[in-house]
């Protein structure tokens, strides 16, 4: 019976695959016939000789720093905001606060960064400010949820013991809970920063500054050579941030 069910499932999947192509009326074969391959090849050729002129490299340098700053400041702000929201979300201020903040955190992270960026461009205008705000909002939702889970899983006894010496809640938290949960928070924040570097690069597509905006513009102007340079810069940036993040994780999270 199960085999029949699995077979039916397989057929259903294959049918869906076929239907999706049919629905889109995709003419993939058309892509490979007539003039199209030649045109695409000529388009692609433009990328094979990246432009390395000094002026462009300087702009790319600036764009890279902008992207880096966007992701770093965004992740930093998001960590602070996320931690503030994680406290009620972990249930430390009662059930109502927990439900409300959990809902808020879910809303923040359900909306993709690009959509946030488009909204922020409307609110704050073009430029990296919109990108930073977008990353902050989305990432606080993600980090807030991760931090809340970390807080829920950490033992409450050290902080409780400090409360018994008459300490205020803030001090008890900082002396009792934070030292234990700190490596996890840092690990999550570093991981999100790695992700945000990739996102920061593309938020520029909706006008939020950085390398993404440069890429969008050069592609719109059909300047493939410049575009290729920007793409290379993006890849390099991602690689460097991954390396740094790995090092930081080893140094402070595992050794700690």
């Amino acid at each position: 019976m199960k085999r029949l069910g699995n077979l039916a499932l397989l057929l259903a999947v294959l049918a869906t695959l076929y239907a999706s192509f049919a629905y889109l009326k995709l003419d993939l074969l058309g892509l490979f016939s007539g003039d199209s391959p030649m045109m695409m090849w000529r388009y692609a050729q433009g990328f094979l000789q990246p432009d390395f002129s000094a002026e462009l490299l300087r702009q790319i340098g600036r764009g890279t720093l902008e992207t880096l700053a966007m992701s770093a400041i965004g992740t930093l702000l998001a960590s602070v905001l996320g931690l503030l929201l994680a406290l009620p979300a972990a249930g430390r201020f009662g059930a109502l606060a927990k439900a409300v903040t959990r809902f808020l955190l879910n809303a923040l992270r359900a909306i993709p960064e690009l959509v946030w960026a488009a909204l922020m461009v409307l609110a704050a205008g073009l430029g990296p400010n919109a990108g930073t705000l977008a990353l902050t909002l989305h990432t606080s939702g993600v980090l807030g949820r991760l931090f809340a889970e970390a807080l829920e899983n950490t033992p409450a006894q050290p902080a409780q013991a400090l409360r018994l010496t008459g300490s205020s809640s803030i001090s008890a938290f900082c002396y009792g809970t934070l030292p234990g949960v700190w490596p996890q928070l840092l690990a999550y924040a570093l991981y999100r920063w790695e992700n945000n570097i990739r996102m920061a690069s593309v938020l520029g597509f909706v006008g939020a500054g950085g390398l993404g905006q440069m890429l969008y513009i050069s592609l719109s102007l059909f300047q493939q050579a410049q575009a290729a340079s920007v793409i290379l810069a993006m890849l390099l940036l991602v690689l460097l941030v991954d390396l740094f993040s790995n090092w930081a994780r080893q140094r402070w999270v595992q050794a700690g």
């Binding site: 006894q157 050290p158 010496t165 300490s167 205020s168 803030i170 002396y175 009792g176 234990g180 490596p183």
Partner: protein
């Protein structure tokens, strides 16, 4: 009457847990300021519950409690916190965060007496490292000042927890098996340190001990606890072997009902230090 001259009182106090299990019942206890008392009894007798009750951690389900001349559960929260800053509880197992340095762990004793700003600043740079060193020196741990808690043995951690309470300088000290991880010589020495503090600062001291000989040797007044009730409350010299036999009779190795609060946060084996 100032806080200094007050002891503590329990009037027909009882404690039950949410699941209905009765931990303590019918407790009548009167302790004058500056007294040192040992609490002994079999496992599961309720020694830890009693100490947590006296620390104002647990609220009595019946009866009344007076600590340092005040009824803690009639006070508003802020004043109860102020009262608690005068009460030092040394918990069973140590409640110290693994990654924290010893100096910060000890300084945390005065969190109830410092302002929040000072507390947070001290987290970055210890503001009274000398004071912490002084407290640790009494327990021969001054050289561990800047080490991390997870680099210490179980017995050393216990002594750091004691140092924290010494640094706190409370008027009422409650010690739950403070020397359980120490060899007899060190245990005796450490109890001596606690008693000296109590003498010098007119502090009321109650310590629960597993080793009856230590209790009888160091404390002039001993309370025997069994099944949540006080079986005897006598000067040490008046306790006979028959009393002790009755207290520990049929001590079985069943798992005692552990109150929710006392789970050790760092799941260490407690080695001899």
């Amino acid at each position: 009457m100032s806080l200094r001259q007050q002891g503590l009182r329990l009037i027909d106090a009882g404690l039950s847990y949410a699941d209905g299990k009765v931990a303590l019942s019918g407790l009548n206890l009167s302790v004058a300021a500056g007294e040192s008392i040992a609490i002994i009894g079999p496992s599961g007798a309720g020694k830890t519950s009693l100490l947590h009750l006296l620390a104002s951690h647990l609220r009595p389900s019946s009866g009344q409690i007076e600590l340092l001349g005040q009824a803690p559960w009639t006070l508003p929260g802020r004043q109860r916190q102020q009262l608690r800053s005068q009460i030092g509880l040394i918990q069973q197992g140590s409640a110290l965060p693994a990654r924290q340095r010893v100096v910060t762990a000890v300084l945390a004793g005065k969190l109830g007496q410092w302002s929040t700003g000072k507390s947070l600043l001290s987290l970055l740079y210890p503001l009274d490292a000398e004071g912490a060193a002084g407290a640790l020196a009494q327990l021969d741990l001054a050289d561990k000042l800047y080490q991390r808690c997870d680099q210490l043995s179980g017995g050393q951690l216990q002594r750091v927890a004691i140092a924290r309470v010494l640094y706190q300088q409370p008027q009422l000290m409650l010690a739950d098996e403070p020397v359980s991880a120490m060899d007899p010589v060190l245990a005796s020495h450490t109890l001596g340190v606690l008693k000296q503090y109590a003498r010098n600062h007119a502090c009321t001291l109650l310590a629960s001990l597993h080793a009856v000989d230590l209790a009888l040797a160091h404390f002039s007044r001993v309370i025997g606890l069994r099944d949540g009730r006080i079986v005897f409350d006598q000067p040490a010299s008046c306790i006979s072997p028959a009393d002790l036999a009755a207290l520990y009779a049929n001590e079985q190795l069943q798992a005692a009902h552990s109150p929710a609060v006392v789970a050790p946060s760092i799941p260490r084996q407690v080695p001899r230090c």
